[in-house]
Symmetry: D2
Subunit: 284 residues, 4 copies
């Protein structure tokens, strides 16, 4: 059983698969706090190269806000999630002491579960072009996906960062989870940036502090499950027995049937949380 089996963008889930091989003080440091209405905020710090390798995720801090799935009826619940996101984000902003940020909405607006990034930016308060002064100057870009642009997203973001010099890049993206129960109700925030492919190392195409030269915060919500995960979960060692078929499954994704409504609500929740943190009004 290797990292191939761990089809998830959530550090919380990556850890589940390999917990027994890791030291909870040296390799992975975890904590979690219960909040109002069953919201749980967990922190996973991947602290050693061994943990990085086993979990398939770069070293750094991952904060996860877990709630129950949001639906249109519970607008106030969405506000609770926004507020938690805002609190976590404010802590990082205070630590980094930045006065300008570029928010990048990754994904493809035309594919519903992949539209979270672009649609979050629809609700974002942009002010870099305005004359007034703001605690944090905010700009934003929806770079599109490679099939639309022919360029690596990292190339586009690097070019814009060099030209417009923000002190922080915030990347918003849809994620894949392993456990279907986490779809649409878990927000992950990390300081590690985004690494396409295997997910570790200083790749040319990563969007992180190494490649951009500025702090990078990534915010994501799982909206799909990899088809391989669903079958592996059901069948046990499917990968070992049916390698060819397993690879074919990588061309598919699995998503809930009410995904459009979820994306609409989630993009609003993320934007509200980010707007509040950037506005400089402390969340109480």
């Amino acid at each position: 059983m290797g990292e191939m089996e761990i089809r998830t963008d959530l550090a919380l889930e990556s850890r589940e698969g390999v917990a027994s091989s890791l030291d909870v003080k040296r390799d992975v440091i975890c904590s979690s706090v219960e909040k109002l209405q069953g919201i749980k905020v967990s922190t996973v710090e991947i602290a050693s190269e061994k943990a990085q390798k086993l979990m398939g995720k770069p070293m750094g801090t991952y904060v996860t806000i877990e709630g129950k799935p949001v639906t249109e009826q519970e607008e106030s619940y969405g506000e609770l999630l926004s507020k938690e996101l805002s609190l976590v984000l404010e802590k990082l902003l205070t630590k980094y002491k930045v006065s300008s940020a570029l928010v990048v909405g990754l994904g493809n607006r035309m594919v519903t579960p992949d539209a979270l990034g672009p649609r979050t930016l629809d609700y974002l308060d942009i002010n870099r072009h305005l004359d007034e002064e703001y605690p944090i100057t905010v700009s934003a870009i929806v770079p599109g996906v490679m099939a639309q642009t022919g360029m690596e997203t990292a190339e586009i973001v690097q070019g814009i960062v060099k030209e417009t010099k923000p002190e922080l890049v915030v990347v918003v993206d849809a994620l894949a989870a392993r456990n279907a129960k986490r779809l649409g109700c878990t927000i992950q925030l990390s300081d590690t940036g985004i690494c396409p492919g295997s997910g570790v190392g200083n790749h040319r195409n990563a969007i992180n502090k190494e490649t951009l030269g500025v702090h990078v915060i990534s915010i994501g919500v799982p909206t799909v499950i990899d088809a391989r995960t669903i079958v592996s979960d059901a069948v046990g060692d499917f990968h070992g027995k049916h390698e060819e078929r397993y690879e074919e499954l990588s061309r598919w994704f699995v998503t809930p049937k009410d995904i459009d409504e979820s994306i609409q609500l989630l993009s609003r929740i993320l934007a509200d949380g980010i707007n509040h943190a950037f506005s400089g009004n402390k969340t109480s």
Copy 2:
């Protein structure tokens, strides 16, 4: 093994599961013809109540045009599929001798794999409101899905049919297939209309000749696989062993990652085929 296992809207696939119990002359009559570039046109006639019950599909004729998956590079291949659709449709139009048609684009424009119906109508030639004379007068409606309207689609279509009196209703919809290889490259055309749920019988919510009082042709392309299918295929009798988990899977669908591009191409192919058949210029 019951009909629950047969997660498919394609008559061709329904038959595969139960072929051994059916008489090829009395229950199901099949034929198929090879066309240019590997395109295969098959006809499945569900001819007995026994076949209807075993296959979970209403009695009637199902024509399937199977090709290879369409991609942007092969525009001429799309034209071949359009032409085959047009030929099958013309045969039915000649048989029904209609002079007016209402085309209904089922599905949800905001959910990519479900947008085939609405997006096909974007390319349709509508003429009922124009002054000139046409071989077939064409009108069209995108009724929306129940979560958007609060109404059964059948209610909306029945109301409009009674008011505007078309002689034919053509329903365009995205389908679910069992075999992933049929996604995005198989067009099914039938004279049975659309039956939500179990799929058989004179339901109040069906869109068919019984409920509308006019001929109904349904045209569909599989764009998703039911998550249950994918797991069942991999695990054998998953349903029997894990009933609760199996039901949970019904909330998901599985779709290819390049679904947006596929829907764009397929909606154009369907519209071209329908436009040509309605225009009265015989396809050679």
Copy 3:
């Protein structure tokens, strides 16, 4: 000077042009109330056939909520407008004693200033398909425009009303104003329905109590000015002097450059107001 000059869907503006010929007790009865933050609620009752003819609008009551233009910075101001809309709507609902409503979103989602109706419905709470009980059962339809459907909107709505039997139809539409200052900040609510063309009489294509057999409330916000208005205002009697050119102008509309943002905010304001009135929670 004839009705041709009065290019407006607002009764308030229609009256301005012909006020001197009308009796303020018998023909047109007007009143207005100042509310918080400069919001003004005016009522124009067109009470005689003479007024109907001179104003080019059917007899009935027109309530206008006038504010200042809404912008993204003033969310609380939008809430004030929603609340006023809700209050006016509740009064009518109490009078009509209806327990079910069909909301119709007129216009073309693809043309920004005409997308107000469809986009308002995106935020509407629909419940007719749900099992629970509600004070008012709500369904909704976006019929599309004639170039898309080939049908008169009235035909579509009549068919659906006969089939699903709501006790009230609410029509949401973008309007044309004469005075540019009213674009995007004036909500008109009337009990007269919608009359295409000259705007008066029992037309086959009207959407009103005569044609549908149920109460009809129309809600609209001006989002465009007719190009003829802008030129006429600037030039005085342009119509008389340049008839041909004047007619050509009818093919154009004039709209503010930030129309996309306005429509986004306005559709939310209208939906909030309608949702609140339908939910049965009295606005205080």
Copy 4:
């Protein structure tokens, strides 16, 4: 009478207003050729600083392809326009000898008449990310408008150009015309790039050879008329007499009522023309 009166992005129209003050050999060199079906291809070369100043457009060559308005019925007419665009573009590509291009779709996808750039890119053949060899490597970006990004479009494009090093930038944009008859049926292609504001000089925010360091071709189609133009045309010296009102009009634009259909057709025509020129198959 100053440049304020010349509300047009078309060099052809700029010249009309000031033709008498310019020398046809030294200042502005014009020629035009009649093609099939009434298509007219004109070239305006702004050759002196005097002409640049009087016409309010940078020195360079402007080619205009004028046809009749395209409608859905005349697909073959659209192909003629595509072909002419392709021919003009091929000539420039041969002259510049480039092997890579970045196509920039300017404008706002959410505002119909401003969506020409983004929607043209929907149909563009992108290949920079593919493994095969192509005569010209094509990448593309939709940067968004300043209200969405907080950044000057020029900053975004400069950043991406420095990072990805294309040898040519092609900018696609919706234009404003003075004469309503040119809306939706005139394609302008120039080698001068795009200059926001007054339109002349080496502005920091220009997208041209000076700011990007590579060849820039701009392609545009007029989709709106400035509201000031329409009134000025009707009233003569409106500007002089009513300065305040005149400025207010700059907040509006005027567009045809069938703009959605036009943009759909035009974006396809532009993409077909660009795709063909880039593919290296000579247009006969």
